[in-house]
Amino acid sequence: MAAVQLVAIGASWGGLQAVECVLGALPADFGAAIVVAQHRQAREDHNDRLTSLLDGRCELVVREAEDKQALRPGVVLLAPADYHLLVEPGEVALSVDAPVNFSRPSIDILLRSAADAYGDRVAGVVLTGANADGAEGLARIAARGGAAIVQDPDTAVRREMPDAALATTPAARVAALEEIGPLLVELVRSGARTG
């Protein structure tokens, strides 16, 4: 399989702890770039609190994405509140298109653009949430030969989002929350060795 160069993560209700758990398991020399869409209130985070919180709690560098910021291994770019985050080859782009299913950032938009730009070199991860965002995008990642990973619904604060992702992508790997970080490490390493 191809080396995973990009990890795209979507999370909603209960997602902060879940994202922290996944990122916290990744080493500082993690070999892939990471993009994250976490649903949150537009108002609550204008001072990038979520970003500094995560940055302080994991070894990777965590930043709120700026438009056309470069994707770099070991650097996590978070979708800013009230923007969609999209992946372009080698960089990210932002959009203020209308919310999709009441969400901006939209996880579907992030995952789909990651699939379009990185094909089989992307790993998509759908974590806890109380809606169906990410299900369409994860299916797109799988269709393009990328790795699809879904948090075990039984370990999720809210299982609706993982359940929806498994409905569109039945072949996705199901992993308990604390297994997802190590799985990503393995995917990046094994791909790098054989790809």
Partner: protein, 285 residues
């Protein structure tokens, strides 16, 4: 936008074909209609093009190309999809506070103030600027040139009516933006619409202008272009920053969206930050 789940595997060959179809479509639009979207950022552009493919009940980007070449109204619908930027009044209240605190005092020194609101869409931002300028006593000597690629968006901006249901959110934004009046004093309810004080639009010149293909048309003390260039690729962003530089008076001020940056631009050295967080820059010359 429509969600379609395609479970079929996508192969590199499909990718190559889609890229070719997209290139040909954009080429066709440019040659037939003069609108040049070739420098736009790919991901959003692709999303909007496919939205129109589905909207026309078509299957492929090639199908859309045939449709727009033979049916100009379809091109107008596509243009709307490609150009409408969703915005709101006093989006990012901190930006408007910064305008009042750091930018307006500089503008105040000019006997006549020219502002360019580039990519104004349906006018929410232009009206917000007009209200803020009025409350600082500057609107009477200010002209806001509000431009957009989309003539229909400009017509809506000109009407000065916005959905009444949004007024609660706009009122919250306005208060957090440092508004000094009752926001409701700026509009009257008219059915489902809020009709804004026509005297606000007196200071606004609405004009069609395409940032990609049209040139400089005046010299401005302040250029506000928020969340417009995020839809452009890096090369096109450089061209537009050049256009803004060419359209600025001495020590002109450039205001971008909160998550836009000129750091990576070759024009970065031409500006110094007035407010780093709100992405407000002042030209060094």
């Amino acid at each position: 936008m429509a969600v379609r789940v395609n479970f079929a595997p996508v192969h590199d060959d499909d990718d190559a074909r889609e890229r070719l179809e997209m290139d040909l479509l954009l080429e066709a639009i440019q040659r037939r209609y003069g609108y040049d979207f070739r420098g736009y950022a790919t991901a959003s552009l692709r999303r909007r093009l496919w939205h129109r493919v589905y909207g026309e009940n078509l299957e492929t980007l090639s199908g859309l190309q045939e449709r727009i070449l033979h049916q100009p109204p379809a091109m107008e619908r596509l243009l709307r999809d490609l150009s409408i930027n969703v915005t709101e009044m006093f989006r990012d209240p901190g930006f408007y506070r910064s305008l009042r605190e750091r930018v307006f005092p500089l503008l105040r020194t000019h006997p006549f103030i020219r502002v360019w609101n580039a990519g104004c869409s349906t006018g929410e931002e232009s009206y917000s600027l007009a209200i803020a300028l009025r409350e600082e006593g500057l609107l009477e000597r200010t002209r806001i040139y509000a431009t957009d690629i989309d003539s229909e968006a400009l017509a809506r901006a000109s009407a000065g009516t916005f959905p009444l249901e949004r007024m609660q959110r706009y009122t919250e934004n306005y208060l957090r933006a440092g508004g000094t009046e009752a926001f409701s004093s700026y509009y009257v309810a008219d059915g489902d619409s809020a009709r804004f004080d026509p005297s606000l639009v007196d200071g606004i010149v609405l004009a069609q202008h395409n940032l990609v293909t049209d040139g400089s048309f005046n010299e401005f003390h302040l250029i506000v272009c928020r969340n417009v260039m995020i839809y452009f690729g890096s090369a096109l962003q450089e061209d537009v920053l050049q256009l803004f530089g060419d359209s600025m008076s001495r020590f002109g001020i450039l205001a971008l969206g909160r998550k836009e940056s000129i750091r990576r631009s070759r024009h970065a050295e031409e500006y110094e930050p007035l407010d780093e967080a709100e992405k407000i820059f002042r030209r060094r010359i």
